[in-house]
């Protein structure tokens, strides 16, 4: 029977290496699928959110907030002076003494639930604002930052009237006024991590967002107004490091909670030391992702990718060091480089973008500087061949192989899309290498053997250990570091302790 099929299956075809290389990139080119930036309504300039209202800063000084993906100005934001910080702290004190400390747990919970629901109602707007201001892919702000921020408010709303059962004795008291300083990598989410437990425990707060990413916190201020949260319970003051320093130094603040670099954390600790202020610090990290030869390889590759390229690597707990067992090192590196090549780098507003823009020119300069040491110190560099946009701050996903413990790229936090790959032969060696750092925020262990995972996890010095996954966050799970990664926990029952007088 004669066959005329054109579309038949060709059996057992030979394929050469070239075909497979080509096939790795895929051929279905996705058309741009941009989220609409019109969803975000920015004011041309923002004041300070003090005592329930937006007010002008005493100096009338403003600075610009840029979209790091194209360097366009999104809005101007107020620079808080020492007087403004004083006004905000006084407002928080008044609200604490006159209102919030007399508000029952159940009543506080109502406000927190309301804030959580309002965040979800305006989730799309929050996602767009966050992506425009921060440079992170819209997929991440939409699927991670915003839902997790709402989840933190929901979670701590549940605790507000159950503090007696949190394990800190009967009727644990709040601390008072909390000064909270947050970083630019997860602006809204970090605001939620700080505000939700503080309010649930009965404190009032003054929150200072990072200089480059104030806009989602200011949108949150609108939500607080919408939720009719009593004036002064949360005050949001924008500005640079000097505003943060003024907050840290203010005698009316009972507690400082800081998330950011180890360098600044150290300064804060020095300044707070002579005072009665409580302090929690969530600082940098150089997380090790430890891969054993029996790891579930495909999911492990995805986990490594997520561990270092999620949020452009602007993650304090990023898995920036990959420790891979020597017997599978070549295989893992080959697959890893292939996968890095597939990452879609570009317009953060495109729903198909995997890696967005670096948050600021300063951060880009730091990433460039540190990676330049990678090659000069003898590591082998693989950089994605992706095309980077001309305007904005961009850094192509990069993997360094043949990295030694002594290299700067193995020791210093790069805080960018750069992975350092080291190898080990025995579990003991993996632990020694993983722990050979001043940091101690997070580690990952990849193995199908549960007993080994537990054995390794018990010996790692880090606040968070993930098994066969990485960068998983949940409001019920405590998060925080040891050593130069800070102290204190956020999330879960443990997160309440930072805001209770216990």
């Amino acid at each position: 029977m004669a066959r005329t099929c054109a579309l038949t299956i060709s059996a057992a075809t030979e394929v050469n290496e070239h075909d497979l290389t080509a096939s790795r990139l895929g051929s279905l080119e996705y058309d741009p699928a941009p989220e609409s930036s019109a969803i975000a309504h920015f004011r041309s300039s923002y004041g300070l959110f003090i005592d329930g209202a937006f007010t002008d800063p005493s100096s009338h000084e403003q600075f610009v907030s840029l979209n790091p993906a194209n360097e366009e100005v999104l809005a101007t934001v107020a620079q808080s002076s020492r007087e403004d910080i004083d006004r905000a702290v006084r407002s928080a004190r008044r609200a604490y003494e006159e209102v919030w400390s007399h508000t029952s747990g159940a009543e506080r919970a109502k406000y927190l639930y309301r804030i959580a629901r309002l965040i979800l109602e305006r989730a799309r707007e929050f996602a767009v604002v966050e992506t425009l201001d921060n440079g992170k892919p819209i997929r991440e702000s939409r699927d991670v930052d915003v839902p997790l921020a709402a989840a933190h408010f929901f979670y701590y709303a549940g605790w507000a009237d159950k503090l007696d059962y949190a394990g800190f004795g009967v009727n644990p008291r709040p601390i008072g006024v909390a000064g909270q300083i947050i970083p630019w990598n997860f602006p809204l989410l970090m605001a939620a991590w700080k505000i939700a437990p503080a309010l649930a425990a009965g404190n009032t707060c003054v929150l200072k967002p990072a200089e480059t990413t104030s806009l989602s916190a200011l949108l949150l201020a609108e939500i607080l107004q919408q939720a009719e949260l009593p004036a002064g319970v949360v005050n949001i003051v924008t500005g640079d490091g000097s505003s943060g320093a003024a907050l840290v130094d203010h005698p009316g603040v009972d507690k400082i909670a800081f998330t950011g670099s180890t360098e600044v954390g150290r300064l804060i600790q020095q300044r707070v030391a002579p005072s009665q202020k409580r302090l929690t610090l969530e600082l940098g990290g150089k997380g090790a992702n430890i891969v054993f030869e029996d790891a579930p390889i495909d999911e492990m590759i995805e986990g490594i990718i997520d561990g270092i390229f999620f949020n452009q690597g602007h993650v304090c707990c990023a898995g920036s060091r990959l420790l891979v067992q020597e017997s599978v090192a070549d295989e893992v590196l080959r697959r890893l480089v292939r996968r890095v090549e597939q990452l879609r780098v570009g317009d953060p507003m495109d729903k198909n973008t995997d890696v967005g823009a670096i948050n600021s020119a300063a951060q880009l300069a730091r990433i460039r500087e540190l990676t330049s040491f990678g090659e000069s110190e003898g590591a082998t560099r693989y950089t994605s061949s992706c095309t980077l946009p001309e305007k904005g701050y961009w850094f192509a996903p990069t993997v360094f192989a043949n990295v030694a413990q002594s290299h700067r790229i193995a020791r210093e936090e790069i805080f960018g899309p750069v992975l350092s790959v080291l190898t080990f032969r025995t579990p003991e060696e993996a632990i020694v290498k993983a722990n050979n750092t001043n940091y101690g925020l997070a580690c990952g262990v990849w193995s199908e053997k549960g007993s080994r995972t537990l054995w390794v996890a018990q010996r790692l010095r880090a606040g968070v250990i993930w098994a066969n996954t990485y960068n998983k966050f949940d409001p019920s799970s405590p998060f925080g570091g040891v050593r130069e990664s800070g102290f204190g926990r956020e999330g879960g029952r443990h997160g309440l302790e930072a805001y209770l007088d216990v």
């Binding site: 099929c5 059996a11 279905l28």
Partner: protein, 330 residues
Amino acid sequence: MSTAPLRLVTRDDYGVKFASASVVPAIGSETQLKSVLGALAGVDAVGLEARCAKLATRSIKKSTKLEAIDLAISMVDLTTLEGADTPARVSSLCAKAMRPDPRDLTVPSVAAVCVYPDLVARARSALANSSVAVASVATAFPSGRASMRVKLLDVNDAVEAGAHEVDMVIDRGAFLSGRVGEVFEEIVAVKEACGEAHLKVILETGELVTYDNVRRASWLAMLAGADFVKTSTGKVSVNATPPAALVMLEAVRDFAESTGKLVGVKVAGGIRTTKDALRYLVLVNETAGSTWLSPDRFRFGASSLLNDLLMQRLKQHRGAYVRSDDFSGD
């Protein structure tokens, strides 16, 4: 445990040079087969499902969507596998397979029509001189519960009637009870009985339950000579799922890298909408890559999917939704 000698699959059987150093050994015994399958990396179910969920958020718009819809149409194995099938229904289906939308000849024909063996001859004559292949299920489809003799007769019937492609089912009981050598021999025997016809091996992933099993069964089928691995019969409660398909796509990709042999993937059962089909194409695109983005390497076993693809295609062109009654039922 079966100690029956297995037919040796050697490098020569692949007829190709091996592409990489991690060569898959020739299978000489069940013990050896077990050690090969046992050495495969495990699958972490949570991570796998998370990866699928992430890829499901890919936004396929505009010209990509049109291109993907046409690609999906060309990958359909238009299927009718009912006791109530009639020759007339098969003829009608064949007409639709060749010209899915008779008013628009730019719509590609589907890849194949898939029927029971007794309707192969009818399908062959209806599809004469077209580019559409005839696929036949065989080996006591869908349960596979028959003797080897009966299964091979079933295959012979289909092939003699002119089937270009044979969709066989594996013996899930043998696989799950560890008699992998038996499954291997069965596939080798069916492959031989197929002659020139291409063999798709249905793993029935819903009955294999774990993703580790899906990965091992995929490798087993490929080592035994499958031209395609296929998820499901469409006759059980759990049919094709994106995570199972992803495991199979990883398997064919890795198998090609190890042996140089390209094996296709067919997803079947429960795929009804364009959205579903596009999600599978995204999995193919971002896992196995462009080599598999062709009807030669990827298929959808489906019936109602075709009309939804046609509706979405027309909607993309017209900018307005169309009615399902604009297209023939089968």
